[in-house]
């Protein structure tokens, strides 16, 4: 049984549903009832109740696409900052396709401190010394050379993507490259720098107004206005 309504604001400890219902998000079971762990909004996706937190740090999941900064070069890999409360690790074997001799080739020839990478989370194991393992052996990942990285709250990422990518498709109408990292870092690259600045402001708008209805339509009109203003 659901004990909440869509778009309701819940607080830590609030009862969301009884144990037999399907609930996703930050909740816990207490005496046969699901209770919320965060201040969040309620969403219904088919018969699943989803609690969407309104604040919080990035929690890595297997398969997430993230934008990270290289913070350290270790003996057999790199330490990467992915905005989590734990450091991430990118081993050499997951970064390069061919074998390299680590005794003769310094790792800094591939990636150095301060470099920006788009990576996939290969595994998360909270009992490991480095709980997050990254990989570059996937499509659309690798070192980033140009463009801008903007940071938004990680909990607002689903809103930037939208339902089945609807918001992202709207943003794509500007003809820019966009990669939305699940950790709240968004990499954009446009031919025109002015477009890049405008796109960054749109993403910030989505972040600020993420919980207000009709956002996609407002973003659409902003893009139309920008386009007609340019020609």
């Amino acid at each position: 049984m659901h004990l909440v309504v869509p778009r309701q604001l819940v607080f830590p400890g609030d009862v969301v549903a009884t144990a037999e219902s399907r609930v996703e998000g930050p909740v816990y079971l207490d005496n046969g009832k699901y209770r919320s762990l965060v201040v969040g909004l309620v969403e219904f996706r088919e018969d699943v109740v989803v609690i969407v937190p309104l604040e919080g740090t990035y929690r890595p999941k297997k398969g997430d696409l993230v934008v990270g900064y290289v913070t350290d070069v270790l003996a057999t890999g790199w330490e990467v900052d992915v905005r989590s409360f734990m450091p991430a690790y990118l081993p050499v074997s997951e970064a390069l396709h061919k074998h390299v001799d680590l005794e003769t080739t310094p790792l800094t020839t591939f990636l150095n401190i301060g470099d920006v990478i788009v990576a996939k989370v290969k595994d998360v194991d909270l009992t490991d010394e480095y709980p997050i393992i990254l990989t570059l052996k996937e499509e659309k990942v690798g070192k980033v050379e140009r463009g801008t990285v903007i940071e938004i709250s990680p909990v607002k990422v689903p809103r930037v993507i939208g339902k089945k990518g609807s918001m992202l498709n709207t943003l794509m109408e500007l003809g820019c490259d966009i990669i939305v990292g699940q950790n709240g870092r968004i990499w954009i690259r446009c031919r025109d720098v002015k477009d890049e600045v405008f796109l960054a402001s749109l993403v910030k708008k989505i972040e600020a107004e993420s919980h207000v209805m009709g956002l996609t339509d407002r973003i659409k009109t902003e893009i139309e206005k920008w386009k007609t203003g340019k020609t």
Binding site: L9, F11, P12, G13, D14, V15, P26, Y28, D30, R35, L37, V38, V39, P53, L54, E55, G56, T57, F85, M86, P87, L126, T127, P131, V155, A208, E209, H211, V212
Partner: protein, 246 residues
């Protein structure tokens, strides 16, 4: 025992005109420290506490981190200008160090630290003005700041104090009653789970008075909890109003 300058309890009315079961004016604001990940300001009458939460973030130095859960560090501090008479020295006193510890222990049952291995959560609490019940105001502020930071919590922790003044059980002690009263019972309460996380007792109490005080504390905590919910709500609703108002 010292004699109070004014009668503390006369004809069922307290020195500041309150009924025995009446809180002082409660004001709560969430998200006032923009540098912090989460923050809150709570005032019970003149007593004002600000709490700011940083984290969860990586623990440095690393050897202090725990492999299976996060570490919460709480610092309770009174501003030099917070007291009535003499300026308080800004150095942490023995009392402040103790209150920091009991506040940490009162928050730990609510915070799901197992979700944050090898990391730390820092909670800073500053008392801007002290007029009794500072530790319970701090507790409310700290739990709201944690919720504002998005830290996983089983419930909010609400702090209220009850006391024994001239033989009567009263809610939310002010500085005067704290100083001259016969007993004092600070309480930390989780209103949804109906569980206590802090229970300290000072003075000589009978069993009946203690149970009466405990029930009064729950009543007070539920009153403060509603104010706390409204404060959290208004933070997210103001953004909505900004857009619809245009």
């Amino acid at each position: 025992m010292k004699k109070p300058p004014v009668p503390l309890f006369q004809n069922g009315v307290r020195a500041d005109g309150r009924a025995p079961d009446q809180m002082r004016e409660v004001n709560i604001t969430v998200g006032i420290v923009s540098n912090a990940d989460g923050s809150a300001m709570v005032s019970y009458g003149a007593t004002t506490a600000v709490a700011a939460v940083y984290g969860p973030r990586e623990m440095h130095p690393r050897h202090l981190s725990l492999p299976d859960r996060g570490v919460m560090r709480v610092r309770y501090h009174m501003a030099p200008f917070s007291t009535k008479d003499e300026r308080k020295s800004p150095t942490p006193t023995r009392r402040e160090i103790e209150i920091s510890k009991i506040l940490r222990e009162a928050l730990e049952p609510a915070v799901v630290l197992e979700q944050y291995p090898r990391s730390r959560i820092d909670v800073f609490i500053e008392i801007l003005q002290a007029d009794g019940s500072t530790r319970v105001a701090s507790l409310t502020a700290a739990s709201l700041a944690l919720a504002d930071a998005g830290v996983y919590m089983r419930d909010l922790v609400i702090g209220v104090s009850v006391g024994l003044v001239d033989g009567a059980v009263v809610l939310d002690l002010n500085g005067l009653e704290d100083q001259y009263g016969e007993g004092d019972l600070p309480v930390g309460y989780m209103p949804n789970l109906k569980r206590f996380t802090l229970l300290q007792l000072d003075g000589a109490w009978t069993r009946d008075k203690f149970l009466e005080a405990l029930n009064l504390a729950i009543k007070g905590a539920e009153f403060v909890y509603q104010k706390a919910r409204d404060a959290l709500k208004s933070k997210y609703m103001t953004i909505a109003e900004d857009i619809y108002g245009r």
